[in-house]
């Protein structure tokens, strides 16, 4: 009796397995799922190996009374950067400061200080060649792209702020609060950030994808910010740097900043 029952079960089981196998081929379970053909980049997008910015300090000095620091404003507006009154909790992607603060280790050289007195230095993420922030990030939420941009993935950031400790340039900001309360003008084409993540300049990666230069570069009326590929010998940045004298912030730390300041 028992044997008979077992045989029956076995037989039934086999039939079922066979049917199911053929059915599985028809992709039963995942009905409706489509397979995308793939992903690509747009033909018009700007492609480079190491994007860099060259800031002509002289032009900044000359035009500071008239330009209205359009570079900063354009960035703030474009990226929905909140305007937080408390300087301790500020979010800054691009901002200005004086020479002594921007280059503190040169601050004891009073002759240099005198010469560069009164010049607004436009500061932002240096998109270092060897970025310490990327090195320390435990989740690879901040990482270096192939084109040299030091990028942020806000979906992955856990808000540990190790990158802020590691960045020697103070280029990173943390969302201590929900930033939306501090927005006055909103660009609907760009998302805001959520509280608890670190953010910084991303060199307008999504503008590059659309074939546009970064917002600050575009906005500067004096064309004082030059954008280009450092790896491309024919790029404008390379030409300018070959001709003129440029310094980088905290050169001695070996981070290899991609933002140059023309000081002659």
């Amino acid at each position: 009796m028992a044997i008979k029952r077992r045989d029956f079960l076995k037989l039934g089981g086999l039939t079922l397995v066979g049917t199911a196998a053929s059915a599985a081929v028809e992709n039963l379970l995942i009905k409706g799922e489509a397979k995308a053909e793939g992903y690509t980049s747009a033909p018009e997008s700007l492609k480079g190996k190491r994007w860099a910015l060259v800031i002509d300090v002289k032009k900044c000095k000359e035009n500071q009374s008239t330009c209205g620091f359009k570079c900063i404003e354009a960035c703030n507006v474009y990226h929905n950067i909140p305007n937080i009154p408390d300087p301790k909790k500020e979010i800054k992607w691009i901002w200005k400061d004086n020479f002594e603060h921007a280059f503190p280790e040169e601050g004891t050289n009073k002759y240099l200080v005198e010469k560069l007195e009164g010049i607004p230095f436009i500061l932002l993420c240096n998109h270092c060649e060897n970025p310490p922030c990327v090195r320390v990030c435990p989740t690879r939420a901040t990482f270096k792209r192939e084109d040299g941009i030091v990028m942020m993935d806000y979906h992955r950031c856990i808000g540990c702020r190790f990158c802020m400790a590691a960045c020697p340039y103070g280029a990173r900001s943390f969302n201590w609060y929900d930033p939306r309360k501090y927005l006055s003008k909103v660009n609907p084409l760009y998302p805001t950030r959520t509280k608890g993540v670190v953010e910084k300049c991303t060199l307008c990666y999504e503008r590059l994808a659309d074939g546009k230069v970064p917002a600050c570069v575009e906005a500067c009326p004096a064309k004082a910010i030059i954008f280009g590929d450092l790896n491309d010998p024919n790029s404008e940045v390379n030409k300018v740097l070959e001709e003129r004298m440029a310094i980088r912030r905290k050169e001695e730390l070996g981070t290899g900043p991609s933002v140059f300041y023309l000081i002659d």
Binding site: K31, G32, E33, A34, K35, A36, E37, G38, Y39, T40, S41, A42, S45, F143, R145, E146, D147, M151, D153, Y154, H155, R180, K181, L183, S184, K185, V186, P188, L189, Y190, P191, T192, R193, T194, K195, Y205, E206, A209
Partner: protein, 128 residues
């Protein structure tokens, strides 16, 4: 039956507990909301069935491709190309969060945190 004074209330509690879903709806049942599809647009980046089940996965893939691999164009199963951007592409058509996204999401209680960063134009007006 013995101990009926305890067993019968027990049975009633048992029935009430396992039929709770019926009673919880009692007198407060709301109609099943219909998400309002964008007017004018006939199709999404993929088929309706796929989008209904898999849109979140698609968005997640989009993010990884765009942010981490610098690939900003999605080619769908029919070979059509779309610019990857929640703000620029998705929300262009689905421009009403309340009538489209929230209707379903509130109905089935899935609260993705998309809206912490992303937003529709309409919404932005409120907190500007």
């Amino acid at each position: 039956m013995y101990n009926a004074n305890k067993v019968i209330p027990g049975i009633i509690i048992f029935i009430l507990f396992f039929t709770a879903p019926i009673w919880l709806n009692f007198g407060r049942l709301e109609a099943i909301p219909q998400p309002e599809l964008p007017k004018g647009e006939k199709k999404c980046v993929e088929s309706k069935e796929y989008m209904r089940a898999y849109h979140m996965k698609l968005l997640d893939d989009w993010r990884k491709k765009a942010i981490r691999e610098n690939q900003y164009i999605y080619i769908n199963s029919k070979g059509e190309k779309y610019r990857i951007s929640l703000q620029k592409t998705c929300l262009k058509c689905h421009n009403n969060r309340e009538k489209f996204c929230d209707r379903c999401h509130n109905f089935v209680i899935t609260h993705p945190d998309c809206w912490h960063c992303h937003f529709t134009k309409e919404e932005a007006k409120k907190w500007q």
